[in-house]
């Protein structure tokens, strides 16, 4: 092991011991959850430090209603395109993958330029726009190219605000997202009175962030540090911000698990309404919304996403909800908290 890593781990050990009390540090970004899982970082933490995943996986926080609408459009014969890991997320009726099996035209794309290409042959194509500021810029670009989009895009800071407003949630520090911060910069986080570090995506980056958070907690500081300066600028990416502003307007949005959060979503401006699936297919979407029957479910994805319950505590976990047959988004992604937990339980039986 490199001496630098050893030093970091040692410092984390010492500081955690000095702090003594149990700490919960929340990574807000899905890719950080991935880094933590890939590098086995949880297994390296002192006993009193728990790393919990926040609502930073855009697929996981996408509301069932939005999935239902996309499924409804697809089943009505409209070709749809979607990022890979969103196809398996169940809505109230079914997932987009199941819709595909029932004959709907569902295209999985790796990046939005593929959707733009498909739309040249199939101008009716509706792209499922989801994700935070990281993917929104690209969607804005594609809308300007003429791609039709159903926007479930979300803004990151309002979710952080909502998390902090919930008194039940106990978090001692945030590992702020890296990719999102490349776009929105660092200043925007200063409104939150909690220790925060913007981190990169190497294993070492996450260890550095944890070490810096512990230092802040130990010194009773509450500031925003940028440990990802090689990519994240203080003011962010102004060009992308301008593009997003030009195409999107801020609106209220539904979050899986968090409910409706004011001014936390992005809808397409009327200037681009010909590319807005919600305008073009207004009647059809109204009909779909009317027909949605909320499936009773004991799925606790929402609470898991907020770090309020552990995956294992959900009554569906490992019973009707498994990676083969996921009932909630946290079980879909291989790095979703429930999915990761399930595999650990399986292997350690």
């Amino acid at each position: 092991m490199k001496t630098e890593i050893k030093k970091l781990l040692k410092s984390i050990q010492i500081k955690a011991q000095k702090i003594g009390r149990p700490l919960r540090l929340m990574e807000l970004c899905g890719t950080h959850s991935q880094t933590i899982a890939q590098n086995g970082i949880k297994s390296l933490m002192p006993d009193n430090i728990r790393l919990v995943s926040g609502p930073g996986c855009p697929v996981c926080v996408t509301a069932q209603k939005d999935i239902d609408i996309m499924v409804g459009l697809a089943l009505a014969g409209i070709p749809v395109a979607v990022y890979g890991d969103a196809v398996q997320v169940p809505g109230n009726l079914m997932s987009l993958e199941e819709a595909g099996r029932k004959g709907a035209e569902v295209y999985i794309v790796y990046d939005i330029t593929e959707a733009v290409k498909i739309a040249q042959k199939k101008p009716q194509l509706v792209f499922f726009g989801l994700g935070f500021e990281t993917t929104t810029g690209m969607t804005a670009w594609a809308i300007k190219q003429g791609l039709m989009v159903y926007s479930a895009h979300k803004l990151f800071p309002p979710a952080m605000k909502a998390l902090l407003a919930n008194k039940k949630i106990k978090v001692d520090g945030f590992i702020d997202p890296g990719h999102v911060s490349v776009i929105i910069g660092v200043d925007v986080y200063c409104q939150f009175p909690i220790p925060q570090v913007v981190a990169g995506f190497e294993g070492k980056d996450v260890l550095i962030a944890i070490e810096k958070l512990l230092t802040q907690i130990l010194n009773k500081e509450r500031k925003v540090e940028n440990a990802y300066q090689r990519l994240v600028k203080k003011e962010g990416n102004l060009k992308a911000q301008k593009l997003i502003q030009e195409v999107f307007k801020v609106a209220d949005a539904d979050w899986r698990g968090l409910g409706k959060i004011k001014k936390s979503g992005l809808k397409i401006r009327s200037k681009y309404q010909q590319q807005d699936a919600e305008v073009v297919h207004k009647k059809l979407i109204q009909k779909i919304k009317k027909e949605i029957k909320i499936k009773p479910s004991a799925c606790q994805c929402g609470l898991v996403l907020q770090g309020l319950v552990e995956a294992k505590q959900c009554p569906l976990f490992g019973r009707s909800c498994t990676p083969d047959n996921p009932q909630g988004a946290c079980m879909v992604s291989v790095e979703g908290s429930c999915n990761v937990e399930f595999r650990y339980v399986q292997n350690n039986k």
Binding site: N39, L44, E335
Partner: protein, 342 residues
Amino acid sequence: MSRITNKLRSLLLEKMEKNKTIELEAGAGGKKSNDLISQIKKNLMFQSRWKNTDDDGATFTIGKEHLTFTADAFIVDPLFFPGGDIGKIAICGTINDLSVMGARPIGIALSLVIEEGFPEKDLQKIIQSIGKISKATGVPIVTGDTKVTEKGKIDKLEITTAGVGIAKKIIQNNGARVGDVVVASGNLGEHAVALLAKRFNYQSKIKSDCRPLILELQAVGKYLTSCKDPTRGGSAAVLNEIAEKSKIKILLEEERLPFAKEVVALSELLGIDKFSFPSEGRFVATTPQKYASKVIKILQKYNSEAKIIGTVQKGKGVYLKTSLGGTKIIDVPQGKLIPRIC
């Protein structure tokens, strides 16, 4: 709460039973593939005097030798790719399935289903690749069948090969023992990356690793306690199979992983686990510590990247010791390879 759960569960099960169709993921070599195969086996009589019927090839003991028999169907898109084509894979795949069982292949049956309108020169090219490997390895094509279907009934071309071989000693996949080391015969996953790069128009120097494994396995077979070629499901699937059947734990070390830089890069770019990338001309195996350096020395004559990648320990499952010192589970891939967006 548990009453609600039970009700939900029975509703779900009912729903699942009613509209069950075969999912694409069931063909990807992961857990769903295993489920499908169990379903198929339920209605078939297996075994009789045959052994190893859930391994790469089944074996039938005649005197002191073991007849080994295997079959494999190939549907590859694209048919031609950097480093090979469907024909090369079809013959190598069957030769390799016999070779990893410790058998010397003695003959191959070749069956072709061709879609009406398929270009004759492409077919010739594919058959020539099969002929080339057959000649180079000395394994003849001894019988076969050819069918042509109406346009649209199949996608271009499907090839099935079956092969028989003879083994003095079968290498089973349940033979790994605590204290063994895990070896890879070369860098893994390059077949998948060559195809994915072509599919996504990425420029890449990586070529498919498709090749016959006869010579190296003839050379080291006697030292191996288990051996598999990581085709569908990649190294994640086959290492888990060895661990499960041998009732041991495999611990890999990140710093010794057998992946080329480009394979890792594409894995990260597409968000697909590199351990689930298939290879078509590599194997992973276990060997007792005392033979380890001998095995590696021999294997490096065929591929300079052959190396020890981990150890066999008490326990279960496959784990990776990361370069930061943490541990991570390497699980059987769930279904088809789906990229993440976040």
